[in-house]
Symmetry: none
Subunit: 213 residues, 4 copies
DNA sequence: CATGAATGAGCGTTCATTCAT
DNA sequence: TATGAATGAACGCTCATTCAT
């Protein structure tokens, strides 16, 4: 925990606890204890508990969206674009499972207005996937009878990684990502040997998440 | 709500609310109101809130496991088995999204002992998938470099259905299930034209879920 | 429990539980279970919980007062009267410890009006002791500088029996009663060899408590 | 109430209410009101209601045991020892009737483990009495056919003081204590003119109870 | 910055009691 | 007689939040 500001410690504690026990299952006192503060002091570093959640979610989605936009912009090949999206998504979910779980599970805990923002970010992100799939079909590289279904299936299957992947397990990040990219390509009927550069994606993810808020 | 016993009304209310707001986000008074009772009366029909959750989860998983076991037992072809599992899973998640969401999201809210039971049921269920995939690979019908990854990817992708499918949307249950079966076959490199009987699976699911507890 | 009416079972259960856990520590459901009834059925045999307590206390005190009045009326000797009071009191407290404990501990749980009745009965009972002591002093058989103090000391010391006496312990009822009578005589400076008839008192107590309500 | 910390106010309120209405008859809201706090604030100054009770009882018994041990240690004469024990006990029960009533009445409300501690303290205390009586008999100064009975009778008779003594009544503490010492001596057949120093005992009690926790 | 103190509101649960059957 | 069903009120306790210091 050395080198972290108190605010960062609060946010880390929140992410960890919200991921592990849920937003409603995490008390303000749990948070305070995990951050090494009194519960009163917590309020120097956050608004309400719900505002903290909203911030964390917006930030996580922001990073994901930014990274993905960077990765696919200017890339013509839909195959390459979809491949990059899958690998980025999987790497992010494997490397930041707590952030990811919070984003995926706690939308319902947000107030209406915060939820709207988050949903909009999520929609923007999913559009990148939808576009890659649609372009791939148009270009004759993918064959999906129901492109929306494919998108949803792909996203859910990749989200799942956050729920079970462990760096102490048998699979390295590269194998994990490559396998998922292959499964994704198969799922949309694309060329499965055409996989994106793992190193490129890994560096992109790492750059995004090491950048301090 | 006609024709339901009070206990059933309580359980339905619990499933709906736990699915919508989470276990910790649902108060006993919410539950009572949704069931049309006072909060004191609730306790004629349940033990503690947590015991109610545990019962609901066990029952849902029990049904899923029973249905799936029925569907695959005695079937030799791994392709047919996996196909049926996918269709059953998708139909169940589309038709009973609340039960399913609770099962998938609220394991962490269970006490240690209840969690053990639920995890065991889930493990039994996943074994059916693992066996079908492993047998398919052995028989040369599937080609998956990492069978466990394939199983996890398939399950997560099918779970997702409960989060977004709406019977009022453009897709019917048959299209939904058939598409998922096709995507699943592609994902494991199997023969995608060999799809299981939708009617058979639909009847099985319907029989399981119409049976009153 | 054979041969008891349901009402008697209820009263016995109440006495036992009120003695063991206190009036406020005993729930209506405890009572029902101990009496072998549903809590609703209980109300066929009692008024409110508090009325039940009041009845039990009045009845116990009534018996004690009646027995004691019988034992001392027409007896001239204050020594004999005080001796009988001590033996009766001790025997009652040893044989009916639950009734006694309730009477001694739960006055505060009564409503004002019920408390008044109970206190009046108690006062009548204590008057018998006060008279015996005063007469003994007047007759030169007792020497107590503060007769009220002696009365209170005697009563409390005898009440204590209900808190610890066990028929399975080393002391029989006769030794117990005789010893207490001796200690009492000493305490008021009376002739300690002049002890009342144990058999007479035992029979009186036994007659009083075997009489069904 | 001036000069008291909030914690002390809470404890005083608890002692007063537990004594007056019993542990189970006292609600957390009663406690809060008597202490001048909200029921939530109460929990800054105590653990659970039951832990508060246990603390209060342990502390009261601790003081009693300490005072009594001080008073009798190094004293050879059993007559003097028993006399001091009686006077200390009576003074304590007259001066701190609430503490005393709680200790004497609410043992049953304790959890098993707290009860064990309290009973052990009580046993240690009663041993001082048992030793004084046994030594007195051995020395030929007391004549008690059943020493245990004498001990129990003495203790109960002295406990009673807390139930009725009022400083606004006709008796001063000195008369009260002296009379009880005399009655006690008579009860065990000891020399009743040999009474312990009232002033010594009064100062000891007062020192013990004025010491702030 | 940091926190002890404080609280209104609410938590899950149990209370004593009633009543239709 | 007997009870399942029902409930308003209260239980002991924790919640997220504020604020004076």
């Amino acid at each position: 925990m050395a080198g972290l500001t108190t605010e960062q410690r609060v946010r880390r504690a929140a992410i960890k606890l919200f991921a592990a026990k849920g937003f409603h299952g995490t008390g303000i006192r749990d948070l305070a204890q995990a951050a090494g503060l009194s519960s009163a002091s917590l309020y120097h570093y956050m608004g309400t508990k719900e505002e903290l959640l909203a911030e964390l979610m917006r930030e996580s989605l922001d990073r994901l969206l930014t990274t993905a936009t960077t990765a696919v912009s200017g890339v013509d090949s839909p195959v390459e674009r979809l491949g990059r999206l899958v690998v980025l998504h999987v790497l992010t979910h494997a490397a930041q499972p707590n952030e990811t779980r919070v984003v995926d599970h706690e939308v319902r805990a947000l107030s209406a207005s915060a939820r709207r923002e988050v949903v909009r970010l999520r929609d923007d992100y999913e559009r990148l996937w939808a576009d890659a799939i649609a372009d791939g079909i148009r270009a004759g590289e993918f064959t999906s009878p129901e492109p929306s279904l494919a998108r949803l299936a792909l996203l859910e299957m990749c989200n799942g990684v956050a729920r079970w992947y462990s760096p102490r397990g048998p699979l390295g990040l590269d194998e994990l990502a490559t396998n998922y990219a292959q499964m994704a390509m198969r799922l949309v009927g694309g060329p499965e040997q055409a996989l994106p550069s793992f190193e490129y994606c890994r560096d992109l993810v790492s750059k995004t998440w090491n950048r301090r808020r």
